[in-house]
Symmetry: C2
Amino acid sequence: MDKPVEDTASPQSSTRRVYLTLRNDIITGQIPPGERLKIDVLKVALDTGASPVREALSLLTSDQLVDRLDQRGFRVAATSRAQFQEILNLRCNLEELALRDSLANADTAWEDALVLAHHHMNKADRNDVDAYEVHHKRFHMALLAACGSPILLRFCSQLYDLNVRYRYLAGRAKSYSRRNVEAEHRAILDAAVSRDMDMACTSLMDHYRKTGAFLAEQVD
Amino acid sequence: MDKPVEDTASPQSSTRRVYLTLRNDIITGQIPPGERLKIDVLKVALDTGASPVREALSLLTSDQLVDRLDQRGFRVAATSRAQFQEILNLRCNLEELALRDSLANADTAWEDALVLAHHHMNKADRNDVDAYEVHHKRFHMALLAACGSPILLRFCSQLYDLNVRYRYLAGRAKSYSRRNVEAEHRAILDAAVSRDMDMACTSLMDHYRKTGAFLAEQVD
DNA sequence: AATACAAATATTATCGTTATTTCGTTGCCG
DNA sequence: CGGCAACGAAATAACGATAATATTTGTATT
């Protein structure tokens, strides 16, 4: 089974494995918003101890994917149309910042990686939603990779994950098939490769807002 | 002993207490960058078990204040002039976004809270660095509070903390006494109260860049 | 309806295991 | 004969599991 966000196959530490698994389950909606996350349940389901589960849940709290209730455990963070709009808006603002800096610093290594990411995304099977999602994120992050600000990249990555969650919740199949996303990606890539900042930003914002407008109606 | 960032007096849970204490110690430079954070040492120093310490360290990792080394424990995140510049730059960009939105949504409740925060900051004893720092952060966050985006506020708060750490590392006494920070705060407040977006942003950016230019020479 | 008791569950501490690091010894080369 | 390097063993410290504690919630009885 492929994971949409990151690879869970490398079991470096039990905590990390649990963290990645749970994050994946939340983002893909396999664990719905508001669901209580009982440690006893999780530790048997994930075949591990309570400590790794607690630590993983703490980390997810920092990612805004899990809420910690005073002394009453954890639950999956709620979703709302307002938050969806907030994420969309923030993403547009932060990624424009990052994209402009990235294009300003762009070198051939960055360009090569971007072209490859785009190619792999297009080659990926669109019906295998999770696999496609991995490549889709890689492409978008590759765009920003040269911005020179690790913290900003981290913020963008977090926002991406939060946003993907809404895509899954809205039912993924529909949102991608209706529009010609490939053309939008192509436009972004071309503008980026030719270092056309304004065009790249316009294309990217357009891409986000189109998806956003479509999804906004389905949330909540 | 007052805490610069947040109150540690309310011991809701042991994990939270440890988290706040450690964060404070790192931000104020009492634990220097690069220092190894041994769990055994911390758990006796903080009079608690290993689990809360581990969990607190995990949380601090998400705040970028602590680095996790694969299976070799934790250490205080390194500092660098490059990162300082990155934080300064990001702060300018994100806070301008937040400030404009905040002013757009501003109401009287927000204005009252802001005026109070400013008053309390000015009333605070400038020689008690930690106490002053609490009020300084409150004032700056009060400016942005009405922006309507909790996630953005969270990012700004994180960046603020990262930045304060550099202030402490550079030796706090000097950086504040040399310039007329009060006048800069006053200008920001006045512009904000009169809802003058451009002036408020200019004043705020100016405030940051002046402090930044001063500190940049002392870091590393 | 309110209070008390019981069951469930989060939280914390302790213990055992595993992995990494460091120090010491031995062997080889200069 | 002396020094350096590499291998190995012991110590140290993180990681994971289990057990104990405290808080909360639900239920039952007064």
